[in-house]
Structure formats: C-alpha cells, structure tokens
C-alpha cells in the first residue's frame, strides 16, 4: 500500500485535465553551502504538501525538487552511486539524473538548432541548478501568500541564490485547461495503482477485453513494484520519491496557425480538421477515434468516455493518423505499432501550464514569448520520458506496418528545414481520394530550458533538513547500505567496510532529534577533504561530537 503522506503531492495528485491547479510557480535555486540549504529545507519542510494533504483539502501546495548536484552536496551521492553500480536497470535513470537535461539534450532529446542548449535561457544554459520549489494553487491569492512565505524564508539564507522564477497560469474561463495552440491539455493521463484516484476508462493499460488496468505504482513512485515486476530504488533515500522532468517549451502559435490554415486552404479542407488530425483530438479534447467527423464537446467533457478508445479498428490511421501526436506518445495497444506491453513501460504523467499571454484567435503573431511549463513525473527518466522523446516523438516509431519511416511528431517533434523538412500524412477514408500530405513542417515547439529533479519523500526531506540518515530498510539491498553511508569526501576510502558497524548505530528517533543539524553540517562541508581517510564511520558527518554521541549511545 502506498504511504500517501510520504509522497509529495505533485507526483500523484491534481494532474488531470480539470483538476490541475490554475496557478503554477517555479523557483529555481542554487545553493552556496549545504548548511543553509539544509536549513532552508528544514524551514520549508512543514509547508511541503503530500498526497494525503491534498486529499484532506489542501489545494495550495509546495513541493521541493532536488537536482543531482544538491543530492551530492547533501552527501547522498553515494546512494545514487551505489545504485549505479548495483542496479543495472536503474543505471539509465541515475545516469540521466546525474548528467542533467542539458547534457542529454542534443543527443537524446533531439534539442538541436533553435532548441540547442546554447540558445537556452540563462539559468538552464549554464551551470547546474540545485533545486526547484514548485508552488501550485487554484487561486491567485493563495499562490501569492505562499510565495511571500517562501520568499521570506529564502531571504534568511543569503548563500542561496534565487536564480529564476517561472510563473504560469491557466487561461481560465471557457479556455480553462487549454494550451496556446487551443487544444485541451492533459487528458490522457495514466491512472496509477493504489494512488487513490479514480481509474477512468482509457487511462491505464488496455486489458484483455474492454477493460483498462491501472499502471503499476513503480512506474511513478520509486521503491514500488513496476510494470516489469521489479522494485527499483529500494534504498530509503529514494523510496516514495519520484523523478520530475522540467521543460520550458516555447510554442510558435502564429507559425502553427498560419501553417494549418495554409495547408487547409490548399487542400480545401477545414483548418480545424487539419490541426485535429495532427493532434489526434479536436480542440475540445474529443478524440478523433470516437468522433472522426466533427468536434463533440459533450464527449470531451465526459471523463469516462473521452479517453476510452483503442486503435485496433484503425490500422491504417484513417480516423486517427498513425503519426498524430497522441497516437505516437501513447500508442495503447496499436496493432501496427508498439503493443500493450511496450507501451505500458513508457507511460508518463504530464502536467503543463501555459505561460505568456494568449494570442487572440485572429491576431497575427506578435513575437511574444509564450508556451508551456511542462513537467513530467516518472520513475525512470531514461526509460520513460527520454525513450518517448527519442523514439516515438523524434524518430522511427517501431512498427510492423510500413509506416512512418522518416516522419516525426508533427506537433512537438524536431523538424529539419529545406529538403529534409518533415511531412505529415493524413490518410482519407473516402475511396479514390489521395491522402492529404502536409509538406514542409516547421518546428512549432522550441525548448527554452529544463532540468531533471528528484522529488524526495517527505521523510527524506526531513532527514536532509535534520542532516540525519534515513533508517536502513531491513529488506533493502545490502550493497546500497554499504555505500549509502559514504560521504562524498570518503571517495578515497577504498572498500566500504563490512555492513555490521553501520547497521548497529542506526540513529533512533531520539538521536535524530539531538543532533543539531546546523552545527553538524558545516564541518561536514567545510572540511571534507581534511579528514583524509575517515574510517567507516557511523553517522554521515565526519565531525567528532555527533559521531561520538551516536556511537556512544548505541554502545
């Protein structure tokens, strides 16, 4: 069973269309030293909301994400490293998390040309970020109050640099839940096993007959059983956490509208149809598979129906083109493409909120910056987010039908210019009519920045704040225990000592409280190298007093 009070609220709550918070604010931080960082986390910890809090009615939430440099700074790099050596499968994730998004942007995520990290915005383009504070609320006042609180907390720690703020807000009114191109966003979301959310038809994995199975918890929450039947990330540090991908995506609205209307005019069809074919849904969110001829607002509003479809009757893509955005990113049981098993291993929870002002319907492009702040929640960045981005959006969709050898996602894919420009094929069901080919697709979405973060469990945040170690899971893997206690400074120390001394002095609740975090931390940070070869010590800090007190207490 999931401990919902441990899991940060933005992992499993309020991500569906209609429930998503209207106001979103991200504060990106760079830490100067670990003491202040720990103290900040300690201060903010009571404010951090869990899924259980949201269930109790808290709707203005604060979540904390840590990038790898911060994890390293807090001395938990060992957990990640141990994982890296021990757990082959997790290697991909840790590798991705360690490198950060910028290092993997060009080769894996397909961010080239305009989207190249060289052209990214300032804090993303240079250096590494350390942490992100995510504030979500349903009203403007609430988010303002929370922002003030967080701002006041941040001011107390001068070494922490508030690098950048990103704010986004839903359009509200009749455009609530849509993005700049005009489409309803966030409809097909996975429903997660045991998450305590309703399992709408179509949101899980297609079952044998008509039913839909919820996706296994381990696909989104670390330390739980995942679709492959394994439990990755058993170490207490990661358990109940998740990985968050943040991406700032700029949308070229003018370009999109212009292209669509030009294509429609040339082929003599409705522009709405062309754009709907590109996405796979009408603007209201009604899927083409269920309503192929016209938009259907009633269908779109019905959460139990608007996602309840499969592609088995549409092998040729005559209703929903095989290359369309939704069919690529969630192929379900697509008989021509990746099957159920393959799809279920690459699901992601998405949450995106538009930033910038909305371009009025008939207005020409005003050159303003607008787009979405896009967040992905997944347990394995390499296997889920990066895989989808690399293989399904930007490359050959593995498929046994002779389809899509060269084309990319028409909406968010990377496109080449000139002769190599992508195209998008819209087959027609009417006999004897040639398919519509949308030639020379430009790039509609440009990446402006992004980073990978870990959303630790509330306990882990508590331990980081207190500068203590989470207790070792008795069922956890030994190898991880062995090295999870190594300090970053203790790298030189060759083999981690046998497990016995470590498992003994487990800090009990009492010891945890007695160690003053603010005092313990600075020495750990300031003199890590000075202590040349610290013997396999019990507590993370190499400083004498807390270590002594801990060991004496145990004895």
């Amino acid at each position: 069973m999931l401990e919902l009070s441990q899991i940060q609220s933005n992992i499993l709550r309020e991500y569906r269309h209609g429930t998503a918070p209207a106001f979103v604010h991200f504060i990106f931080l760079r830490f100067g030293d670990a003491t202040d960082a720990r103290a900040l986390i300690k201060t903010l910890h009571p404010m951090v909301t869990s899924c259980a809090d949201v269930d109790e009615g808290v709707h203005s939430v604060l979540n904390i994400g840590l990038a790898y440099p911060a994890v390293e700074m807090f001395g938990h790099g060992g957990d990640a490293r141990a994982l890296n050596e021990r757990d082959d499968e997790a290697t991909g994730t840790i590798e991705a998390f360690k490198c950060g998004m910028r290092a993997r942007a060009v080769k894996i995520l397909g961010d080239d040309e305009d989207s190249d990290p060289e052209h990214w915005e300032e804090p993303y383009a240079k250096g590494r970020l350390h942490a992100v504070l995510c504030l979500n609320a349903h009203t403007r006042e609430k988010i303002k109050t929370n922002l003030d609180l967080v701002g006041a907390a941040l001011k107390k720690y001068p070494s922490i640099e508030r690098v950048r703020d990103e704010a986004a807000a839903d359009f509200g009114g009749e455009r609530a839940g849509t993005e700049h191109f005009g489409f309803a966003d966030g409809i097909a979301q996975p429903s997660v096993l045991d998450a305590g959310e309703p399992n709408y038809a179509g949101s899980g994995t297609p079952g044998k007959r008509r039913g839909w199975e919820p996706v296994k918890t381990g696909e989104f929450v670390l330390g739980h059983l995942d679709e492959s039947g394994q439990v990755q990330f058993r170490s207490e540090f990661f358990k109940d956490g998740s990985f968050m991908v943040f991406r700032k995506l700029q949308q070229h609205v003018g370009r999109f509208r212009e292209y669509v209307s030009e294509m429609a005019a040339r082929k003599g069809v409705d522009p709405e149809l062309v754009s709907a074919k590109m996405v796979g849904r009408w603007k209201s969110g009604a899927p083409l598979m269920l309503s192929p001829k016209k938009d259907d607002a009633k269908l779109a509003a019905d959460l139990d129906r608007n996602n309840d479809f499969r592609y088995e009757d549409d092998r040729e893509g005559k209703r929903c083109p095989i290359g369309s955005h939704i069919r690529r990113n969630n192929p379900r049981e697509d008989p021509t493409g990746p099957g159920t098993i393959q799809t279920s291993k690459h699901r992601i929870i998405r949450r995106s909120t538009p930033y910038g002002t909305r371009l009025p319907d008939d207005a020409a492009d005003d050159g303003e910056d607008r787009g979405v702040l896009f967040v992905v929640i997944n347990a394995d960045i390499a296997r889920q987010f990066e895989f989808v981005q690399q293989n399904w959006v930007n490359s050959v969709l593995s498929s046994t039908a002779l389809t899509l050898p060269a084309d990319r996602d028409p909406l968010i894919g990377r496109q080449r210019g000139g002769d190599e420009a992508g195209k998008f094929l819209i087959p027609t069901a009417k006999r004897g009519t040639r398919p519509i080919v949308a030639w020379g697709l430009p790039r509609f979405v440009t990446t402006r920045g992004g980073e990978y973060f870990l959303l630790p469990s509330l306990d882990t945040l508590h331990h980081i704040g207190q500068n203590t170690r989470p207790p070792v899971d008795p069922e956890g893997c030994d190898a991880s225990d062995g090295s999870s206690h190594t300090e970053p400074a203790a790298e030189a120390q060759p083999p981690p000592e046998p497990v016995e001394p470590e498992s003994l002095p487990e800090p009990t609740a009492a010891t945890t409280e007695t160690i003053p975090a603010a005092e313990a931390a600075p020495t750990a940070e300031a003199a890590p190298t000075a202590e040349a070869a610290p013997t396999a010590e019990t507590t993370p800090t190499t400083e004498a007093t807390p270590a002594d007190s801990a060991s004496t207490e145990v004895e």
């Binding site: 991909g92 039947g229 099957g339 690399q390 593995s398 002779l402 195209k423 004897g432 398919p435």
Partner: protein, 457 residues
C-alpha cells in the same frame, strides 16, 4: 514451393526471390543450400535423401561462404554484353558494377592475432579516429571489424557478390592492412588471389543468416532515391494544374532511377550513370543511423548440440514455413549467428536507432522464439526475453564493441528501405499502365496514392 528431388533443379533460398525458369543454364545453388533446405520439416525422407546426396558431393556446412558460381557467370555475361554495347556505341568501357546480383550474402572471417600484437591492435581499433573503411565500395551492404579477448579478429561483411568483398578490401588496402597485418599469415589486401585463399581458409560457419530484404545494394539505393524523387514529384505538383502535373510526371518518368528499375525488369533501357550504381563510401555511423550489435555468449555445454541443430534448421530466418519470427522486428536489417570456439555463440546484427527499442522489440514481439535460441546461453534470464530489463542486461554484459563499421546506406531505416522497395515495385506497374498522356491521369494517380498511402509516410 516445390521440393527438389534432383540436384539440377534450381533451388531458391528465399521465397521472396522468384525462381527463374527463363535461364535454364543457371547452375543450381550451392549444394549446401539444397541440403539445408532438405533438412527442414518438409519431409524427413526427402531431406535425408538430399542430405546424403549432398554429403557425397561434399556438403559445406555454412550458408554461402563460397561465391555462387552462377552469380559470377551471370555477372560476367552481363559485363561482356554491356562492353559490346558500349563498343557498338563508342562509349567508354563500363566496369564491374554488381548491379544485377541477387540479394545479400555474408561471410565471417576469423583471424588469429599474432602473439604479442594484441595490445597494439586494440589500441589501433579503439582509436575513434581510425577508420579502416575509408574508400568507397560497390555492392557492400555492411561491413564490420572487431577483436575479441581470445586474441581473435573478426571481419564480417554482407555483400551482393563475393568478389565485391575483395574489391572492397583491396580498395581499402591501406587501412585494412594496418589492422589485419596484426594477424597470422595475412598476405596483404592488394594481392587479391592470395587474399582470397587466405579468407577462404579462415572462414567460419554461419549457422543462421537473416536478411530483412533480399535485394542488391544498388537496387536498394535505387529504390531509396526513387522514393525520394517520387515524394519530391508529389510535393512539386501539390495543388498544381493538370498541365503542369502532366509535364512534371513526364519528367519523373524519365528519371534515371525509374528507368533503371525498368532495366532490372528486363527492359532494354541503356544503363545510366546513376549515383546509386556508383561506388558507395562506407561512413562511420552517426547518432541518427543504423547501428551494429555484436555479442559473444557462452553456451551451456549440454545445449550446444541442440542450439546448433535449431539454428541450422533455419526456420528462424531463411525458409518460409509461416514462422519467421525475425520478420516481426521492424528495426532489424540483418542478423547472423555462428557457433565459434566450440561453445560460444557469436551473434551479430544490424539494427536501427536506439538499443533499448531494439531490445524491447525482441522482448515484446518474439520473446518465445528468442528464448529458444538464446536460452542455451549461460546466464540467460530465467523469465526469458519477456523480462526486458534482465534481457537487456544479458545482452549488454556480453556485447563486444564493434570497432569499425560501415555500410552503404547508414542513414536509412529498415522501414524506409522496405517501403521504398515496395513503392518501387508498385510504381513500376503503375507507370507502365499510365503514361504522361493518359486521359485519366489525375484520378488514376489519386487512386494509386489512396491505395498506397502507407508507403508515402
């Protein structure tokens, strides 16, 4: 397919390759092909009969390490014909082109590294700037070089014509000699006769050879170019008037690749100087292209025999018995399996794109069949290939880095190749029926596009 009873019946290895009754002088395929065929479950008695006959005439064990002589002779005849034609027209004499050979074949050469030279060879191979396959080559699909820890160097090539492989080595003598010079008894690539003897002496058996398409490299390249041209034609005529369409269509019909295709069908169109019939450079692979995978895995001693038999039966790749699991992999171009050193399985394949995607295709599409082959390996995951992550670890742990890899069309995916070949085929029929003056050109073209829309994506 009929079961051959006599050795002089033409036996077709691959069902996609139609028999050619038109040329009775063609010598039958090599004896071992007959034997391989006979041993399938078509009927053991027939198989046994053929096998025993094959044994009498000296059956070779592997697929096609020797040049099929018929192929060579056909090539020679064609060359003579085009020479005569050139002489008649006063054109320069054409060289050997290999355009007309049928389908891809492969050999694997294993050479022993001279004691004491392994490290220097390793250093040479691991140098990322070192590329032994610099020069162009005709009729070579893919080639690769790698060294294993047993101080052995492997050279694998997929070719259209056996001799093309030596032309290729000869052309790259400089880089190849540098590498193969570390091997015992290597005579140097410039001396072709000696090289052939050397290669023939060092060939190893290939137990299984799978090809997703059975077309000569030049034809593949022709098809790819033709598809590009056709898409360009469609794009240019998008929304154009009928007159403009007819004009552009006539232009497209005169496209040398289109006519080159016709020539393959026996139309007497003069040979054109085409980029695709020209030499093809072997480039080093980029991030967005075809990739090689090589694996050396130890087999359980008691399972070697069974694995060999299973592979030799060939049901996995070569013979159509309705069960060709590898055909279900949309990213696998070629695969070869050999048993080397007694109990090691050497698996080498050419695939598209991302490794994870490739492994998942194995694990989700043909897990059972893969289990029967790889299940004989030590350390194979208990749950089989269906456990994708364990299976990936299994493959990754046994992978051998491929030190040099080159190919004729590295930037093209398998789906692209397959749809190009199919489109070329369909277009051949269409253009024969509908010419630029056809009264109902536009509706005909619309209908054609509607029907074959999947080939255009």
């Amino acid at each position: 397919m009929t079961v051959p009873t006599k050795l002089d019946t033409k036996v077709v290895m691959d069902p996609s390759e139609p028999p050619e009754p038109s040329d009775p002088r063609v010598r039958p395929a090599t004896v071992q092909e007959v034997a391989t065929f006979g041993l399938t479950r078509r009927g053991f008695s027939v198989g046994a009969g053929v096998a025993s006959t094959a044994a009498l005439v000296g059956c070779r064990k592997s697929f096609a390490p020797e040049p099929p002589r018929a192929q060579q002779r056909r090539e020679a005849r064609r060359l003579a014909r085009s020479k005569r034609r050139a002489a008649r027209r006063g054109e320069p004499e054409p060289g050997r082109t290999y355009t007309h050979t049928k389908g891809a074949r492969t050999f694997t050469m294993r050479a022993k590294i001279i004691p004491g030279q392994y490290r220097s060879l390793r250093a040479l191979l691991d140098d990322p700037d070192h590329n032994p396959f610099k020069k162009s080559a005709v009729g070579i699909h893919y080639a690769r070089l790698f060294a294993t820890d047993e101080h052995t160097l492997y050279f694998m090539v997929i070719y259209d014509n056996y001799l093309a492989a030596f032309d290729f080595l000869g052309a790259n003598a400089e880089g190849v000699d540098e590498v193969l010079g570390h091997c015992e008894g290597y005579p140097g690539a410039s001396d072709k006769a000696a090289l052939r003897t050397y290669v023939a002496a060092n060939l190893i058996d290939i137990q299984l050879f799978y090809r997703a398409y059975n077309t000569a490299q030049a034809s593949v390249r022709d098809a790819l170019t033709l598809r590009d041209e056709f898409l360009k034609f469609l794009r240019d005529t998008d929304g154009a008037s009928e007159a403009a369409l007819r004009e552009r269509y006539a232009e497209f019909l005169s496209d040398p690749h289109m006519r080159n295709y016709d020539r393959d069908r026996g139309n007497d169109v003069a040979e054109h100087q085409l980029t695709s019939s020209q030499s093809v450079g072997l480039a080093r692979m980029g991030p967005d292209s075809v990739a090689p995978f090589t694996m050396l895995a130890r087999l359980h001693d008691d399972k070697v025999k069974k694995a060999k038999r299973l592979l030799r039966l060939g049901t996995f790749a070569t013979i159509d018995l309705g069960a060709r699991p590898l055909k279900n992999l949309p990213t696998l171009h070629f695969a070869r399996v050999s048993i080397v050193n007694g109990n090691y399985m050497l698996f080498a394949s050419v695939y598209d794109g991302d490794f994870m995607q490739y492994v998942e295709d194995f694990g989700t599409r043909i897990a059972k069949q893969i289990d029967t082959i790889f299940g004989a390996c030590v350390g194979y995951p208990k749950a089989g290939a269906a456990d994708v992550f364990q299976f990936k670890d299994f493959l990754a742990a046994r992978q051998i880095p491929t030190n040099a890899f080159g190919g004729g069309y590295l930037a093209r995916s398998l789906l692209q190749i397959q749809s190009s070949l199919k489109l070329t085929d369909c277009l051949g029929g269409f253009t024969r029926r509908v010419d630029a003056q056809h009264r109902r050109l536009v509706p005909k073209l619309d209908k054609f596009l509607h029907r074959h829309h999947a080939l255009l994506t």
